[in-house]
């Protein structure tokens, strides 16, 4: 007979809906790690958690919002950013964080991403890039690398298309803070998310993650541990590198770091100032 021992509460548990656990994620998945990063970033900053709204779209990463013990909205596929823009402008006091996957943000929601970057609305987008649509079983998406196998790009041909580089996309669309890390760079990525939250403008943080269940299996990339170990091996930290040089090649080199951190008038601030002026 085993003796029951008191279990120490996880330090981030105060932000998390424990009643929603266990997590839905597969073992070896990166999304849980990223959820932890977001919680720690909020904790490190000491911001009023009741003013935080977490918005997500559909997919594995999209399920993140529901685990946070604050105002959350689990929207339709691809629309998290558009929805978040409405929340932010209607109530600029809220700290809006979008957490969603690469398929959600860069394929069906790609138009919303580039236009939100262009508008420079104050919000933090954390995009978990696991190179495929996981929730639907592993189909190719906008970040699936050329010739990789997925359920809809099966062997022997593989993916005929080419992938987006999300850092380049966000930077050239006008985001004022752009970073990329992998799921193993927890401390650095958390710091970037903190900077993103503090930044008055649109922040885009890509977290390259692993989907061992679908993408990993179909491309023989190993299990979750092997994939995360690989991410650490090929990561090439180049803070301050011009974003157009931030290459991502899963096999050989994933350039990580903070690539954009510029000042540009933020949408809700411009609006507030304009209204103030008009009222005299």
């Amino acid at each position: 007979m085993t003796e029951s021992v008191p279990v120490l509460k996880h330090p981030m548990a105060k932000y998390i809906r424990e009643d929603r656990q266990p997590w839905i994620y597969c073992s070896g998945c990166s999304v849980g790690i990223v959820t932890g990063m977001v919680a720690r970033a909020i904790d490190n900053l000491g911001i009023d958690f009741s003013k935080v709204v977490v918005v997500s779209g559909i997919g594995c990463t999209g399920r993140t919002s529901g685990y946070f013990k604050t105002g959350t909205y689990y929207t339709t596929h691809g629309r998290a950013i558009a929805f978040a823009e409405g929340v932010k402008i209607a109530n600029p006091e809220l700290e809006v964080i979008v957490v969603s996957g690469d398929g959600d943000i860069a394929a069906i929601g790609g138009n919303h991403l580039i236009h939100a970057c262009r508008r420079n609305i104050d919000m933090t987008i954390v995009c978990v890039n696991n190179f495929n649509y996981g929730m639907t079983g592993g189909q190719f998406g906008p970040t699936t690398e050329h010739l990789r196998y997925t359920q809809t790009s099966p062997p022997p041909i593989g993916n005929v298309e080419h992938s987006f580089n999300l850092v380049k996309l966000a930077a050239s669309s006008g985001a004022t803070f752009v970073a990329r890390w992998t799921a193993v760079h927890v401390r650095r990525a958390t710091k970037s998310i903190e900077k993103g939250i503090e930044k008055k403008g649109l922040s885009f943080i890509e977290i390259v993650g692993a989907c061992p269940t679908a993408y990993g299996r179909m491309n023989r990339l190993g299990d979750g541990v092997a994939m995360h170990r690989h991410l650490l091996e090929v990561a090439d930290i180049q803070n301050g590198l011009p974003p157009h040089e931030a290459e991502l090649d899963y096999e050989t080199r994933i350039v990580c770091g903070e690539f954009v951190d510029v000042e540009k008038p933020e949408y809700t601030a411009v609006l507030r100032e304009a209204y103030k002026k008009l009222r005299g």
């Binding site: 009741s50 709204v53 013990k69 909205y73 689990y74 402008i89 209607a90 919303h112």
Partner: protein, 571 residues
């Protein structure tokens, strides 16, 4: 008095300006006006016209005939000739080469007078106005009183010159016009109206939204809805309204839902094509019980259809759009004034029942304008529905209640976690697949419907319910069908009109009574497939005996209704 003025020419020639000036002259002298704009989907060229109908009683529809035409191009001289009444006049600039002169034609020195008297051909519009007023012998003293106001926005010196040009052209016309105009207004004094507000349907709708305290409007430009968005944007800073022109209509409705979740009263403005893109988000609003008002200014479809024309063909689409089942409201204003009230009602219904509300306007309603009595906005009541109180702890966004409506709270309120999900959810908003909860949440939706129906306006019966024939109409065709009833009754027919503004969920009590009592029922709709009659059948099992359908994209007139009824041997 009931005169139809028609100003025709190419886009960009100043048709609207002449029409607006003419409207102002008659509104300021106490007459009722109704103006429709018929234009092609192009910025320059083509054949467009503005019709200004002037009457000493309120009118709510255009007419087919034309009494006085100002033609700015050769096409505009020739094209509308068959629609000119006997004793009508076509005024055109004498530089237009046109030789087949009849007594109705009046080649006038419009541009020459503008140049000689005003110093610029740009004052040709003022000359045209002078000629128009002159052929109907509108009293010169009355005209003089208002011309200054009409040109007022142009600046003092220009005002003076424009007035001079208009007056000179008035005199020239008196001297040279040898034809006969059947309208002689020389004895009219100020009309009975004291109305001074001239609004388009889109303006009335936008002002209604503002009066209802709208705080967010997001839209992607699409004819014929755009001017409603512009109206809000122009006043946004004054009334502190967030407005955003989005990348597409998908974003427009998603943003509006986000803003509504954050606590703002929200609206999107679009037309059918844009609404098609919004359908996905419509379902999100339905599932998350997020109030939002969707204004669809309909135009003929499918696809791009006729961008600047009118139709009522999105009714069933609005009623059924989206996968799944959820309560919604569909309203269709019957007039420009009603567009204001409909907007107010839409916001209150949306908040009270936490459902999306679709307002079905159309290009005819959107772009036509009329003189209205001033609107007393102090009577506008804002009902935000049931909000969470202090005792709502723990707060459950989707608390199961007797009437299906759960108190709302907004994110950022301390101590309240406001969770929403497009997935089937628990009372606290979190995702579930529990079959019992799924049942409870589906039934929560169903419970709202009877209360919504009771809160809607019953149909309006015009004439006696004992009439032999009932004309069933909905939305913006109200004025034309009502006028047709007057015409038929003047001819001795026993006929009434049953008109619907609140379409879904459908109120059926009076409908059953009138439809089963009349010996002949006719649905009159601006679509090809009698969509409202189909909805009536679906909801009541009752069928209309005949269907009148107009789908050429042009607004309905009373004459069209009467001619069709008589042509089909129904009336």
């Amino acid at each position: 008095m009931d005169i139809s003025f028609n100003i025709g020419g190419m886009a960009g020639q100043g048709i609207d300006t002449i029409g607006d000036m003419l409207t102002q002259v008659f509104v300021r002298t106490g007459f009722y006006t109704f103006t429709v704009k018929d234009f092609e989907s192009r910025i320059r060229g083509g054949y467009n016209f503005t019709q200004v109908r002037v009457s000493d009683v309120p009118v709510h529809a255009p007419v087919d005939h034309m009494d006085v035409i100002v033609a700015l191009t050769h096409d505009a001289v020739v094209g509308p000739r068959p629609r000119l009444v006997d004793g009508g006049v076509i005024i055109f600039d004498d530089t237009i080469a046109f030789d087949d002169l009849e007594p109705c034609h009046f080649p006038a020195p419009l541009s020459r007078t503008a140049k000689e008297v005003g110093g610029s051909v740009r004052m040709t519009n003022a000359a045209a106005l002078g000629a128009l007023l002159s052929v109907v012998r509108f009293p010169v003293d009355l005209a003089e009183e208002v011309l200054g106001h009409v040109f007022a926005r142009k600046g003092e010196e220009v005002v003076e010159k424009n007035v001079l040009v208009a007056k000179r052209m008035y005199e020239v016309t008196q001297e040279r016009f040898s034809g006969e105009c059947r309208h002689d207004l020389s004895t009219v004094r100020c009309g009975p109206s004291t109305d001074r507000l001239v609004l388009t349907g889109n303006q009335a709708l936008a002002l209604g939204a503002i009066a209802a305290n709208v705080k967010w409007v997001s839209a992607y430009p699409m004819s014929p809805s755009t001017s409603a968005f512009q109206e809000v944007v122009a006043r946004a800073h004054e009334f502190r309204i967030g407005t955003l022109q989005t990348e597409d209509e998908i974003a427009a409705l998603c943003m509006a839902i986000g803003a509504s979740y954050a606590g703002a009263r929200t609206m999107v403005t679009t037309s059918g094509g844009g609404f098609s893109l919004m359908v996905e988000a419509l379902g999100l609003a339905g599932m998350t019980e997020t109030p939002v008002v969707i204004y669809n200014a309909q135009r003929p479809g499918p696809s791009t259809g006729l961008p600047t024309r009118t139709e009522q063909s999105d009714l069933l689409f609005s009623v059924f759009a989206s996968q799944g089942e959820f309560p919604r409201v569909v309203l269709a204003p019957r007039s420009i004034r009603d567009a204001f009230d409909t907007a107010v009602r839409a916001f209150n219904l949306a908040d009270r029942f936490q459902v999306p509300v679709v307002i079905l306007g159309d290009q005819f309603l959107a772009d036509s304008s009329m003189a209205l009595p001033l609107i007393d906005v102090s009577t506008v009541r804002v009902d935000r529905g049931v909000l969470a109180g202090d005792d709502d702890t723990p707060y459950l966004r989707y608390r199961l209640t007797d009437d299906g409506v759960s108190p709302r709270a907004f994110p950022g309120e301390p101590g309240r976690v406001v969770v929403a999900s497009g997935n089937t959810h628990l009372e606290d908003g979190h995702i579930t697949e529990d079959p019992a909860i799924r049942d409870a949440m589906a039934e929560k939706f169903l419970k709202k419907v009877p209360a919504i129906r009771d809160a809607l306006r019953p149909p309006e019966l015009y004439g006696s319910e004992d009439a032999d024939m009932v004309l069933v109409s909905w939305g913006s065709t109200w004025g034309a069908v009502r006028e047709a009833v007057d015409l038929l009754r003047a001819g001795g027919q026993s006929v009434c009109q049953l008109h619907f503004t609140d379409l879904y969920p459908l109120r059926t009590a009076l409908l059953r009574e009138v439809l089963s009592g009349a010996s002949v029922s006719v649905s009159i709709e601006q679509n090809a497939t009698s969509q409202f009659a189909a909805l009536v059948s679906m909801e009541t099992g009752l069928m209309c005996d005949h269907h009148l359908n107009k789908y050429d994209g042009r607004p309905m007139t009373a004459r069209w209704v009467v001619d069709r009824l008589q042509g089909a041997g129904i009336a």
